[in-house]
């Protein structure tokens, strides 16, 4: 116990003396939470639209109107031919082309059926996908409108108009920030906890100071706790800063309880720091440690469900996210903040993260040797 106390004192003396590091630990969560939720907004507006209207009918004008009256599309111009419109696309003046064929109105009335062509610039797949799906719902809407119009003279009002609205439970305004901010909190805690622990231990290796500890009567568990506890505390401090910033800036506070968040974070950090410790036993230099840590951070982020919902990933990637502790914390913190889930609803998440904590720390204890 007494030895551990001296290890902790030493660790905090070193960390607090590193003024730049302290400032970074405080500033990084603030800056990221201020900037990223705005930058990572996936709602798309003002998609540049080029129109090729070969029909020039009342209905074609109505349809175009429907497009331009939303915020999603911004009319870039009318063009006489598809070729001209494609040219706009190539020059990046347009992101979406709608081509209305000749006899659009006539076919619609006579055959009850017609076609329009939509071309999207798929260089940015995300925008392309979204603009096509926006178009689809506008066209669906248009369909409904004219059907009602046709039926009205007959005074049959009973025909149900099916309105397709996507409902977003727990995030009613589909506010992207509610989705991104809790996830970011997890990432910040992960970044600080994982990177700092790994690099800290490898620095002791590089400086040779770890050798001085290895020839001392310090016990292995004392050394490991001496490294885990400081970064465990720093991780929780970062989480707290993140909670404050997201409340002040976005009014986001958990529907559930802070206690659940902190309880989960406390266990999560044990798992994460154990992993950091394990990685640090693999690296001999800080450069190697950075490289390995970066490798895992990328996987943690991309397969964590922070930006892209996990359900949208291919099966093999979904499987990989199940091996990523970050994905459980992101899911859990979203459930606590947005849905108000408690420990009972999160029992599986807790169970799995405890399992991670045990596995990683066992690995760390076995791979850290006082003797080579």
């Amino acid at each position: 116990m007494r030895q551990l106390k001296f290890l902790l004192i030493k660790e905090f003396q070193q960390i607090l003396r590193n003024k730049l590091l302290v400032r970074l630990i405080i500033a990084v969560p603030i800056v990221q939470l201020v900037i990223l939720p705005f930058a990572a907004n996936y709602e798309i507006q003002n998609i540049k639209l080029s129109v090729v209207d070969n029909d020039h009918s009342e209905y074609s004008r109505k349809l175009i109107n429907k497009f331009t009256s939303t915020n999603y599309f911004l009319l870039n111009g009318y063009f006489y031919s598809y070729k001209e419109a494609i040219h706009q696309l190539e020059k990046d003046n347009a992101e979406l082309i709608i081509e209305i064929p000749k006899n659009f109105e006539k076919d619609l009335i006579r055959e009850n059926e017609t076609k329009i062509f939509i071309t999207a610039n798929a260089i940015n797949g995300q925008t392309a996908g979204l603009s096509v799906s926006y178009s689809n719902s506008i066209i669906r809407d248009f369909n409904n409108d004219i059907r009602i119009e046709w039926l009205q003279p007959a005074r049959i009002n009973s025909l149900p108009t099916i309105e397709v609205t996507s409902s977003n439970w727990f995030n009613p305004k589909m506010n992207y920030k509610y989705f991104i901010v809790p996830g970011l909190m997890v990432l910040l805690v992960t970044l600080v906890g994982f990177l700092l622990t790994t690099i800290n231990i490898v620095k002791e290796k590089e400086d040779g100071t770890i050798e001085q500890l290895n020839v001392s009567p310090l016990k292995k568990y004392q050394f490991i706790l001496g490294k885990l506890i400081p970064f465990w505390i720093i991780g929780l401090v970062v989480l707290t800063i993140a909670q404050i910033v997201s409340f002040v800036l976005y009014g986001i506070y958990p529907v559930g309880s802070y206690l659940t968040i902190y309880l989960f974070a406390a266990i999560y950090l044990v798992a994460l720091l154990g992993f950091g410790l394990f990685v640090s036993t693999l690296a001999e230099t800080q450069q190697q440690a950075m490289f390995i840590a970066y490798f895992f951070m990328m996987i943690f982020i991309l397969l964590g469900g922070l930006f892209a919902p996990i359900e949208n990933m291919p099966n093999w990637a979904q499987f990989l996210t199940r091996l990523n502790p970050v994905s459980y914390f992101i899911e859990a913190i979203r459930m606590i903040i947005l849905k108000g889930s408690g420990i009972k609803e999160l029992a599986t998440h807790f169970g799995i993260i405890i399992l991670f904590a045990i596995i990683f720390n066992t690995l760390a204890v076995y791979s850290y040797h006082k003797t080579n």
């Binding site: 001296f6 004192i9 030493k10 070193q14 040779g208 100071t209 006082k370 003797t371």
Partner: protein
């Protein structure tokens, strides 16, 4: 001079060997070190001094051979050994981003000294090294010679039975080197056995006994006086040169 039989043996090494892959860094070395002795471990760069020392202090596993340090077996009782030895590595390894006082407290603490002991001994240390005025300076700001004196003082802070010094004076100016050896003598006088590696042949003369290691093997071992007698050469420097020039390892 006392006869060997009267002395306590504190380090006993038999055929100790370390291989890295198919390279034999330390090859079947055997020797004994007596209590209170200053034992010099000489050898050219790459001879295997550091490797041998690391096996004795329990941070490197030997490939084969036996060794007993401070009464404990290096294979089975490395932790007991660690409680009874001090070590100053070839690479300076105190915390540069801590102050002198903070380093003293830390190393006192992890060796299990209580607060009073730490307080008393650190006063003593600061006085001896004349560091009172600078005790709150960062270690990184000290000149090399002062760092080495501090590292040595901390290696014996917990009053170990044996202290291992790996080239403690390399790169240090002659005056500080002299002062450093005064510290070693004082420790030896207080009953601490000193196991020291060096490149400086004048320092070899300060040792009670020296061993000369060439390519992982011990080629000569005796007191400086006896060595000169046996080789009929009156400088350790020349004896060392005679033995070391047969070395195949070049670094």
């Amino acid at each position: 001079m006392t006869t060997p039989a009267e002395k306590d043996i504190v380090i006993k090494v038999e055929n100790l060997t370390k291989r890295f892959g198919d390279f034999t860094a330390v090859n079947q070395i055997s020797f004994e070190v007596n209590k209170g002795e200053i034992f010099g471990f000489l050898g050219a760069n790459g001879a295997g001094k550091t490797t041998a020392m690391k096996m004795l202090i329990g941070i490197l596993n030997p490939t084969s051979g036996k060794a007993n340090v401070a009464g404990f077996d290096i294979y089975n009782q490395p932790e007991q050994i660690k409680r009874n030895i001090g070590y100053m590595s070839q690479k300076f390894s105190l915390y540069e981003d801590l102050t002198i006082a903070e380093n003293i407290n830390f190393f006192g603490g992890i060796y299990g000294l209580n607060d009073d002991e730490i307080k008393f001994k650190s006063e003593e240390l600061l006085t001896k090294l004349n560091f009172h005025a600078i005790k709150n300076n960062l270690v990184s700001s000290l000149p090399l010679g002062w760092k080495q004196k501090l590292a040595f003082s901390l290696a014996i802070f917990h009053s170990p039975k044996i202290v291992f010094l790996d080239e403690p004076t390399s790169g240090v100016d002659p005056i500080t080197r002299r002062q450093f050896w005064d510290l070693i003598y004082e420790a030896s006088h207080n009953g601490i056995t000193v196991f020291v590696t060096t490149h400086y042949m004048d320092e070899a003369e300060y040792c009670n006994r020296i061993s000369i290691m060439v390519d992982g093997e011990i080629k000569a071992l005796d007191s400086p006086k006896e060595l000169k007698n046996n080789f009929q050469i009156d400088s350790i420097d020349d004896i060392f040169y005679l033995l070391a020039r047969k070395a195949k390892r070049i670094e």
